[in-house]
Amino acid sequence: MEITLIGRPVVAGSAEGIALVSGQPLSFWGGLSPHTGEIIDRRHERSGAVVTGKVFVFPQGKGSSTASAVLMECINAGTAPAAIINRSVDPILALGAIVADEMYHRSVPVVVLSQEDFDLIQEGDHLVIEPDGRVRITKRDEVQSASISD
């Protein structure tokens, strides 16, 4: 069964991917390697996870104002997440996606969901992001059974 959530398209775009979910905020600078897409904040609960190609679901950015530069370099280097879903608008992350779009006509959609909707997404769910901010979820167990029957 598919669930559709209505979010705010802070940076509009289409994307899909498997959810990488964290309940903790992250500073992209000092927290994410643009070379590898790895979460390198050693105090973060997902330290070591790689965001590349995933839909990265976490509450909000924090910390360094260089975070936008890291996101743009991730987009440039091909290590960026497929999309970002947050619980509140982080202008610095949005900025990284917007400047990359201006420079390279390539970006990462950023969607903000309500707390309630945000909590519905679980690690491993398959997510489709639409330009109008809709997020379609196929739950993890169904993703797995579909891939087995393939």
Partner: protein, 423 residues
């Protein structure tokens, strides 16, 4: 919701003021939508963080704007550059890296930015005035400008900072507006002993606690001593803007928008009241360190954010009071600006500091320029910000301690702890 533009804004967006201004305005208008702003406003000063980290895309962005004729329209200072511009060869920075860093520096100075090269622009040239509308990047500088100076800026990231400097405009939103600067959370220090409140390590530890407790709230601190120094407030803000996203804090009877508790909350009630306990600080301090007491040290790093002249004075005192020499296997690095260094050179503090073996690195930072050896495994710092980012960004273990502990550890070559009123 769409943003209302002035005639000049529209001209910029149409390319009538050149292609760089068009690109800057285009990014600013898209950011206005992110901020839910309905109009734009003037800023009269900017501080650029986009010159700090060397990436291919960041260099391309700066050189593109510069080649398109980009020119700042308001006085604009520059954050650290990824190079000690005078001593990079002696510091072992590779030629290829340095070449790109110099191109990055040139792109920004060609656009008319002032080569201040510091992450502590508030302790040098062009310090903003109370109430001044500015567009600042660099998380610690943002926190300081808003909180300690009472200037008004949002958290501007790379690369909207240069866009704002070129256009002289930002979305009218967030912390530019008085009603959004109202305190939200009250933190009471009544249970903390006065002896703790004067300890240097208290401020970064408290900042770390604050950022984690309320990542994006405006905290109001009640009970901070009147004698708190600018360097202590700098350390608090830098730590809170690393563990969290704190862009503005008020301290009652200390910071300029908080003469009284009522003023800090603009007459409203706090959303939450938190009594800070000693155990919170002990926990924060413990969390800030990943290296154990006694661990062998490769380097001690001070000056994150950049050392002020007063901090050099305190360092000289700490060196004098140890009466010992620097351990031969360890580097003691102090990061600072050309402005603070110029004062140091004209003072009597230079000789004891240099004789002790302190390496003074100017214009840059260990996080952005390859200064530390890739073999370094353990470092120590008195900075909450440096302690927060070092494990991830430098791949080292870190010990956080007071300035005195850092200096003593530098003589021992290993992490040393001192008896302190709260440890």
């Amino acid at each position: 919701m769409s943003v209302e533009l002035s005639e000049r804004d529209k001209q910029m967006l149409d390319g009538q003021h050149g292609q760089a201004a068009r690109m800057a305005m285009s990014i600013l208008v898209r950011m206005a939508e992110v901020y839910d702003a309905t109009e734009m406003m003037d800023v009269s000063q900017a501080h650029i963080d986009g010159c700090s980290m060397l990436t291919d895309s960041g260099l391309e962005f700066a050189e593109t704007l510069s080649a398109l004729g980009g020119r700042v329209s308001v006085p604009t200072t520059l954050n650290v550059v990824p190079l000690d511009l005078q001593n990079w060869r002696a510091l072992g920075v590779p030629e290829e890296f340095a070449g790109k860093a110099l191109r990055l520096a040139k792109a920004y100075t060609d656009m008319g930015c002032i080569p201040t090269w510091t992450c502590a622009p508030y302790q040098g040239y062009l310090t903003p005035r109370f109430g001044q509308q500015i567009a600042w990047g660099e998380s610690n500088a943002i926190a300081y400008a808003n909180s300690v100076l009472g200037a008004r800026t949002n958290r501007y990231g790379d690369y909207v900072d240069i866009c704002a400097a070129i256009a002289g405009r930002v979305p009218r939103s967030g912390l530019h507006l008085k009603q959004n600067r109202r305190g939200q959370l009250l933190l009471r220090l009544a249970d903390i002993e006065p002896a703790v409140l004067v300890d240097g390590a208290f401020y970064p530890a408290f900042g770390h606690f604050l950022g984690k407790l309320a990542p994006d709230k405006i905290p109001v601190i009640d009970g901070m001593p009147a004698g708190v120094t600018r360097d202590q407030l700098k350390a608090l803000g830098a730590a809170a803007a690393s563990s969290g996203a704190v862009a503005l804090f008020h301290a009652v009877e200390v910071t300029p928008e908080a003469h009284t508790l009522e003023e800090a909350f603009q007459g409203d009630d706090p959303e939450q009241v938190v009594d800070v306990h000693l155990s919170d600080l002990v926990a924060a301090q413990s969390e800030m360190s990943t290296a154990e007491e006694g661990a062998d040290l490769d380097a001690v790093v001070l000056g994150c954010p950049h050392f002020s002249y007063d901090e050099f004075d305190r360092l000289a005192q700490a060196i004098r009071s140890t009466g010992r020499s620097l351990h031969p296997d360890l580097r003691l690095i102090v990061l600072t600006s050309q402005a603070s260094y110029a004062l140091l050179q004209r003072s009597g503090l230079m000789a004891p500091i240099v004789d002790f073996g302190v390496e003074i690195v100017i214009d840059t930072c260990v996080f952005l320029s390859p200064i530390l050896s890739s073999d370094a495994r353990v470092i120590m710092t008195n900075s909450g910000k440096c302690a927060y980012y070092a494990p991830g960004e430098l791949g080292v273990q870190v010990a956080f301690g007071s300035l005195r502990e850092c200096v003593r550890s530098a003589t021992e070559g290993a992490v040393c702890r001192e008896e302190a009123p709260w440890k």
